[in-house]
Subunit: 358 residues, 4 copies
Amino acid sequence: MNFASDNIVGASGPVLQAIVEANAGAMAAYGNDEISVRVRARFAELFEREVFVFFAATGTAANALALSSAVPPYGLCVCHREAHIIDDECGAPEFFMHGAKLAGLPGVGAKLRAEDVDAYLKGLPKAVKQMPPKALSISQVSEGGLVYGLDELAALGRVCRAHGLSFHMDGARFANALVALGCTPAEMTWKQGVDILSFGATKNGGLMAEAIVVFKPELAEALDYRAKRAGQIISKSRLIAAQFEGYFAADHWLDNARHANRMAALLSEGLARLPGVRLAWPTEANEVFPIIPQALDRALKAAGLHYHSWTELSLPETETIGKDEVLIRLVASWATGEDEVRRFLEIASSEVSRQAAE
Amino acid sequence: MNFASDNIVGASGPVLQAIVEANAGAMAAYGNDEISVRVRARFAELFEREVFVFFAATGTAANALALSSAVPPYGLCVCHREAHIIDDECGAPEFFMHGAKLAGLPGVGAKLRAEDVDAYLKGLPKAVKQMPPKALSISQVSEGGLVYGLDELAALGRVCRAHGLSFHMDGARFANALVALGCTPAEMTWKQGVDILSFGATKNGGLMAEAIVVFKPELAEALDYRAKRAGQIISKSRLIAAQFEGYFAADHWLDNARHANRMAALLSEGLARLPGVRLAWPTEANEVFPIIPQALDRALKAAGLHYHSWTELSLPETETIGKDEVLIRLVASWATGEDEVRRFLEIASSEVSRQAAE
Amino acid sequence: MNFASDNIVGASGPVLQAIVEANAGAMAAYGNDEISVRVRARFAELFEREVFVFFAATGTAANALALSSAVPPYGLCVCHREAHIIDDECGAPEFFMHGAKLAGLPGVGAKLRAEDVDAYLKGLPKAVKQMPPKALSISQVSEGGLVYGLDELAALGRVCRAHGLSFHMDGARFANALVALGCTPAEMTWKQGVDILSFGATKNGGLMAEAIVVFKPELAEALDYRAKRAGQIISKSRLIAAQFEGYFAADHWLDNARHANRMAALLSEGLARLPGVRLAWPTEANEVFPIIPQALDRALKAAGLHYHSWTELSLPETETIGKDEVLIRLVASWATGEDEVRRFLEIASSEVSRQAAE
Amino acid sequence: MNFASDNIVGASGPVLQAIVEANAGAMAAYGNDEISVRVRARFAELFEREVFVFFAATGTAANALALSSAVPPYGLCVCHREAHIIDDECGAPEFFMHGAKLAGLPGVGAKLRAEDVDAYLKGLPKAVKQMPPKALSISQVSEGGLVYGLDELAALGRVCRAHGLSFHMDGARFANALVALGCTPAEMTWKQGVDILSFGATKNGGLMAEAIVVFKPELAEALDYRAKRAGQIISKSRLIAAQFEGYFAADHWLDNARHANRMAALLSEGLARLPGVRLAWPTEANEVFPIIPQALDRALKAAGLHYHSWTELSLPETETIGKDEVLIRLVASWATGEDEVRRFLEIASSEVSRQAAE
């Protein structure tokens, strides 16, 4: 049983089937094939407007490319200080942005508050020594598993407009947020002021399928050149595109996300009921962040369960982790079985009982 | 019928099958899965020594990453002036090398001669204004479809050693060169002084499967960091690795390459026999570069045949293209049918006859 | 009266005179002139060993070039979170290091403690997503005007060795620190493990004269190429070099620094005696950081006095700035007159009395 | 006697005097001083329109910064294949442009013809693999000492407009070209379509004084940030600015340039009269490119005369250099004495006679 991440399983059935079907015959390479054309149209339909779509092989590349179109080499990109782009990509954004800087702000559960972003921007020195802020990047779902509400997104969008920033959303778990909010893709993005989106499918059933979706046309102008020089234009492009066809067909992507979120909710509820265990913050999508006794942590790992421990950087001010406790992250995916969750909870529960009895 | 490139078809059967099989179950992400481990060992076996292997999603990325490990930002990389890295990658090498420069030298059929490289290096000014040369990059098969012989490779290797350059081989068509020479991978690379290799599988049956194979250990030191920050470390890494398992199994890759080369030979022989048609230079792997009458070119295209015209930059000095002629490139692949070749030749032949009769 | 910075005055007499004298006649350009040769030898003498010396036109360029030789594009450079390189150079280090990242740590008075650096380095994840630390950069004098003692430097040097980091010192105010410690240049640098130094002269009497002094030979290897491609190799190089001749002659540089430090001490003592005024931390070189009432701040500015207010980021934990107070920075230089200091103190003193009387 | 370059002498009297005078007293740093403000206004007057002016310490930095504002990292900059930016700056343009590429075209005397540039641009493939052309850069005076006429500039300007390119002029020898044409600065720049200019003063009397003059406002938008992060904003900025005051006062700069051109003309006429010596192309500014017997070359060097030999890349098609001949470059400057020129010619003349007699 593995709750370490949502990229430890392969592609889901419909996605794999779509690849197999698209594989036969000759087609134009480098994005000029008919499947890529169809998929781009599908994105426009989903987002209820004209969009510019670029495929990429990894989420890291999608994020870094998106940011490079919004932030010049001398610019600043504001994000959460635990954002994936700042912590987990070995400097990919700085590489693609040619040395532009990421400024990491605090916020509970790795979520940014519009008023904090606004205050930070207002406090920047007006001087040539100060890199000018050019973009805001948020993760929806956040690195802490929280989901920005539509009002929160709108408020961030207003701050961006007021300060002349482009608004980027890292949607590695876009579908999980979408079904959590129960809104449309349009409502969760451009209608709140999002300018450019990293649309991830890999974690939710894809094999390797990421897209950059651009709402502000000037950000799309050079993205094909940027993608090409980054080695991100796959020659047999139809096999990236085909994954999205399988992904979108019959709401497969939404079903996958709903399942993952439901598994996380189950896990979350079960854990919260255990004595000595509490949630660092609420479970809103497919990730659970419980604070557990270190003894329990050791026992779970000894039982062969896989997951990561987590930093305390984004805890609420009212929360502290005791010296016998640890903050962990559990991730559910489209492939997580309800039986796995139940078995995990049973193990945890019996461990807690056993330890209490000692 | 499409002779435009060897990336217009999907993956070959065994490669696709390997993906499907590797897809099930949970495995560690980011290259730590068991298939990736197996495939790295397979590379060591193939090259008869310890090697360092890094996967990439595109040939452009493999080349640019390989070069970035060998050439510092202030350095010079010598290559042919029609090299893929200089002409076809939208500046990817310059991006990954952070502004290092490609110096393009001439040579018939896009092949470099060791004496020309040596003379160029000796003629460079010794001054701080002159970027110091740090690597030589050749394409095996060359952009003109020619194959460097082992002696030629050894001579280039000696020039590299004499001038302190790393020796990079762009092996986008590695297998086609290998079967053309009838030698081992070791003989075609490190035994002649090659330090780092872009090993391409995509054009010869892969879906998207490229590897960087490093023979000089210091060039491997930071490649994982470089690949990560370039967005080239695929999360579901086993699905890149699996392609290589399918590719190598039962000599599938060599069979594919032999077939492609044989189809090109058929095409070449058939064309050379037509009046008014001649080869710009010999056909040595899976690409044919004939000079044909423009009238024939128009007729072939009108018949729905796909291929590219080519620049005259690498013609032998003794050759010129008449004003009613055109240089074209025809590419055969593992998927090219013998019937397609025969049909192409029939169309060409009857066109030549028809035009002669006019 | 201007206490805003130590770069608001021109060159000192001996430095200007040296330029005028060096101006006549023809000499080789680009660093090959006899004065540059002499000055390089002088640096070796001063540092009591072989050193590699590179001139630059600005401190920003000296720092960024120095770091670019120590930190690869995928690397991390540790520094204080208020370091000049992180806050005041519009991303120059990131530009010259091609996207490498600066990690800013806390510390009172903008000084880093060896144990904090060590703990930070030990806590970094061991993973490819984590940029590997490659250098430590400190400012001697610190951005808060504090001076690292020899023991503190030695401890930082040991941390660097233990973790495989290069050790960079930003010596924009090198002379001020040197006379504060009363040690030799060798003792303050390589004898404690410093590998590469930005040696500033501009703030202490130069017109525009900065040098990079390298103690670890491999860091010097490519610095001439890096400087050239950064547009930092001045054609009439003797006129940079000449400034150092004037600067070093008859201990002019040390006299200048002693004077500046003495003026700051005077200022510091006078201010500390005023009711309602206290120092944020001790005055150790040529900068004073007092916390003063906002009413006094307004009055001083109204009286035409120039200086900057400062951030509270590096205050001791035991210190807080009241809501009617402000932290300011006063800088004394070689050109600051004792009469100016006395006049400043008089104005401040009478203002404090006047306000107390209200 | 030294005809190697025009940067081997120091500053001219009026320029040095201006520095000395500007040195006294306190002034704002980083370009906010009153002298910098005055000089910017003076540039506007000289160019008869609003201009944006940025100072730099070297011509290399001025060129590279100017290009970085016009060419994005994925773009192409067209220039002559012997341009200073491509050959003499160790990759500075590629560094500042973040990997953008320089495409070098041929042309006699290192001058580009508008029709050649147009044909090159029209021939570029329309594909994402092709870096899109974004700027044209010419040197006025050319690297071969030739001067573009106003008609030639206008034609190049039209080609730039037609293809959407920014038009950059490297004016390292701007004054020499200006007095050769006898036109105004406005006529030689923006009136013919030049968008951005590297205005050099160092070679013509400055100590280190270069400026970027921008006519197309959008190219000026971020240049202050770019200059800062390149370490090109000198803290004691008034001392760069002061040089321009001395330079422009009483037409000192034009006098200097006229003198240099006259000395070159004298040299040119004298050499052309010698048997066995001919000019590779006409002398139009302050540089002479004669083809001389190798025996004469050896004799001149033996007599202690300094100058550089030159490449044959830009010879007219009708010209070839015999195997006993060599192409050399002689540069005259504002400091070249007429007696030096006459003495050079006497030595050359008597050598030619002596050799003829042998």
